[in-house]
Amino acid sequence: MTQITLEIDGKTVEAVEGSSLLDVARQAGADIPTLCQNAQLNEKGSCRLCIVEVVKGKKRSLVASCAYPVENGLVVKTSTPEIEKHRKLLVELLYPTALHLAKRYGVKESRFDGPRGDCNLCGLCVNYCRDVAHKNVLFFEGRGVDRKVSFVPGKAHECSSCGACFDLCSGGFVVNNHGMIGLNERAYSGS
């Protein structure tokens, strides 16, 4: 548990070596948006909203702070015009999910076509159901552009009595669809 020092937004900050830059920065007062990470889950780093600028020696880079372990001597900026531009684009890509972020970034429409209006594939519901609620009802079906969240056939009713992930969902998919049969209905009705 080595104590180290780093600079965040001009302030000198002390932290435990290896802890999450996101956590350390937030503790130091930075306001960093996130979507895909949750304190109870291991998965993170997919939404990229938490990117910050890190200067290490001579190298400057943009990193996902939720997945970046702090080291001694880092110089970090959690918000710059460049970073905000990236975050705004990310929010536009997520639109119309994550409307709370759309509001914050002034995003009212999207140039892009998303596969679903109510799911951005962040995986919070799937990961929570598997690793925290231990119900294993939700899962990711397919891959690539066909990837979607599904419910195990026959288990979808469990969601009504659980509902633990409803608040995690930034698109409304789980609330809209729990109780529905998943996994390519045709597959099992075609027995």
Binding site: C129, R130, N136, V137, L138, F139, F140, E141, G142, R143, S150, V152, P153, G154, K155, A156, H157, G179, M180, I181, L183, N184, R186, A187, Y188, S189, G190, S191
Partner: protein, 179 residues
């Protein structure tokens, strides 16, 4: 819409086969993939019946959610019964420039009608089985045999420099083949 899972129940032999399979691969990395491969191979219609997957879940302790996730991730695995014959048309760049889209359209016309699912897909991604269960037509993004374009795989045999008429003829022959 919460009907319980309906399907054929497993026979005693089916169960024995599955249990032996699970024992055979127990503890090995990639165990689930090997088990799924063997299950699909054994099925005449080359697919993974859901009741088999449920049994594997029960026996191994792997949640069905995980098994479904794996089964739907890989193109190798089918969750629906496949046709007796398979026709796979390559839609890669080389094959496309040498007319594979037309081959695809021609075969689709020749073999319709299809099962109700109507996996209409696009000009690049088709996956349908004929209503009589005889043929499954699918596409692949690239066989890696670009010098032989256009490429079509008929019943796991690669056909190269395919022309439409020859393909139609071969399919007609298969169609009229006795079982």
């Amino acid at each position: 819409m919460n009907e319980p899972l309906e399907g054929a129940t497993l026979t005693h032999e089916d169960r024995q086969f599955l249990n032996q399979l699970i024992l055979q691969y127990a503890g090995r990395p990639g165990m689930l993939l090997s088990v799924l491969e063997k299950i699909q191979e054994r099925q005449a219609q080359k697919y993974l019946p859901l009741e088999y997957l449920e049994h594997v879940a029960e026996r191994t302790g792997i949640p069905s959610a995980q098994i479904y996730s794996v089964a739907t991730f890989y193109s190798l695995f089918n969750l629906k019964p496949q046709g007796r014959h398979s026709v796979c048309i390559c839609r890669g760049t080389a094959c496309h420039t040498r007319g594979s889209q037309r081959l695809l359209e021609s075969v689709r016309l020749q073999l319709g009608p299809y099962q109700e699912d109507g996996e209409e897909g696009s000009a690049d991604k088709i996956f349908s089985t004929t209503a009589d269960g005889e043929f499954t037509i699918r596409t692949v993004a690239c066989f890696g045999q670009c010098a032989l374009a256009p490429v079509v795989e008929v019943n796991h045999q690669i056909r190269s420099h395919v022309n439409e008429r020859a393909l139609n003829r071969e399919i007609e022959t298969l169609r009229h083949e006795k079982h």
